[in-house]
């Protein structure tokens, strides 16, 4: 499969800036939310539309940044 419609954009979440990277693989949209600097993954989500994948990733990232969720064991302690 080839990734299509790749997009990267930044979103302010309180004092933090989150980078949302999304693309479509077949019929599934993938979105990764990272903390921009240095770019560690905060959340990863899938959806049937870009909006759905981005919204899910953003909600999970927001919970992590607000302290409502602890950092995942994998993929989020780099730096």
């Amino acid at each position: 499969m080839k990734p299509e419609d790749h997009s990267v954009r930044k979103v302010a979440l309180g004092a933090a800036v989150v980078t949302l990277s999304s693309y479509r693989l077949g019929s599934v949209w993938h979105c990764i939310a990272d903390n921009t600097d240095p770019g560690a993954r905060l959340a990863r989500a899938q959806g049937t539309t870009r909006d759905q994948a981005e919204s899910s990733a953003l909600a999970e990232a927001e919970a992590l940044l607000s302290g409502k969720r602890v950092a995942p064991v994998t993929g989020c302690s780099g730096g």
């Binding site: 990734p3 933090a16 693989l25 903390n35 950092a71 994998t74």
Partner: protein, 282 residues
């Protein structure tokens, strides 16, 4: 890539696309986001998990010689294989794997310029298939101590920095460097004090890259680092929070700019910022 000190350490996404079936080449993905590989990877690439396969699981350290030999052999890599590393986020953790492979003496290691980001942005093929390649025998060299800085060397270098004989580059964000924050947003705070090693220059690691994830030109990189006193005639130590971002800067200084004496201090701020009595600047 011709202006770099060692242009062969980088390959393009085109080159990788043409060599996915080359039996002398092994492509390896190393991401900060350890789930990225399963989502889809360069066809034929093997995935290494930095948290379980590139770290000692008991003590804080990189993997040992035997572990590396096992990892390389089981990945279908022998001493003559060309290893091409790539990963997400400007090759952040791919550079960390590169640094480890060079420490253990692997001769031909390269990074795919632009990493996973560029591969995806270019709409290139992604595979979810597990690669199959027969295991090989691998024999690592003893780790090269000239590429890694331990605490006593950093303490010595900190004194030399004041005399202009050594240079230290802190590649964390300005807010981490100033002590405003102890860790990047969303990551655990693993140090007792914020700030930086006195005399260190702050050059965030990502400044070495273009928007598409590729490395800036040799001239741009030279200007970036020399503009802050990081030059080839000094012994240079790069550090960050836990040593991965700084391995990226180590790659730039050592391999792309050809500085002769560059070490990665992987103890980094999580070691220095927890030391009793260590000097800290804000």
């Amino acid at each position: 890539m011709a202006d770099y000190a060692k242009p062969d350490v980088l390959v393009s996404t085109d080159w990788v696309a043409q060599n996915t079936n080359n039996p002398n080449v092994r492509i390896v993905e190393v991401d900060v986001d350890t789930k990225g590989y399963d989502e889809g990877h360069v066809p034929g690439a093997v995935g290494w998990n930095w948290q379980t396969q590139l770290c000692d699981q008991l003590r804080r350290d990189v993997i040992g010689k035997q572990q590396l030999e096992q990892l390389m052999g089981s990945s279908g890599i022998d001493n003559g294989t060309t290893v091409v590393l790539y990963g997400d986020n400007n090759n952040w953790f791919a550079a960390w794997a590169y640094w480890q492979l060079k420490m253990y003496g692997h001769k031909d290691v390269r990074l795919m310029n632009g990493g996973r980001k560029k591969w995806i942005a270019e709409g290139r093929e992604l595979s979810q298939d597990a690669p199959s390649r027969a295991a090989k025998q691998y024999s690592a060299k003893e780790p090269d101590p000239s590429l890694r800085a331990f605490l006593p060397q950093v303490q010595d270098a900190a004194k030399q920095v004041q005399a202009g004989k050594a240079a230290m580059v802190d590649v964390r964000s300005p807010d981490e460097f100033s002590g405003k924050i102890l860790s990047p947003p969303g990551l655990p705070e693993t140090c007792q004090r914020g700030g930086h090693i006195p005399g260190a220059a702050n050059i965030p690691w990502g400044q070495a890259c273009n928007e598409d994830g590729t490395f800036k030109s040799a001239d741009e990189l030279k200007k970036l680092y020399e503009g802050k006193g990081i030059s080839a005639n000094k012994d240079v130590i790069a550090y960050c929070r836990i040593g991965e971002r700084s391995s990226h800067t180590w790659f730039v200084l050592k391999e792309l700019l050809g500085f002769p004496n560059v070490r990665n201090y992987d103890g980094s701020w999580t070691e220095w910022g927890n030391l009793v009595g260590a000097p800290v600047e804000r």
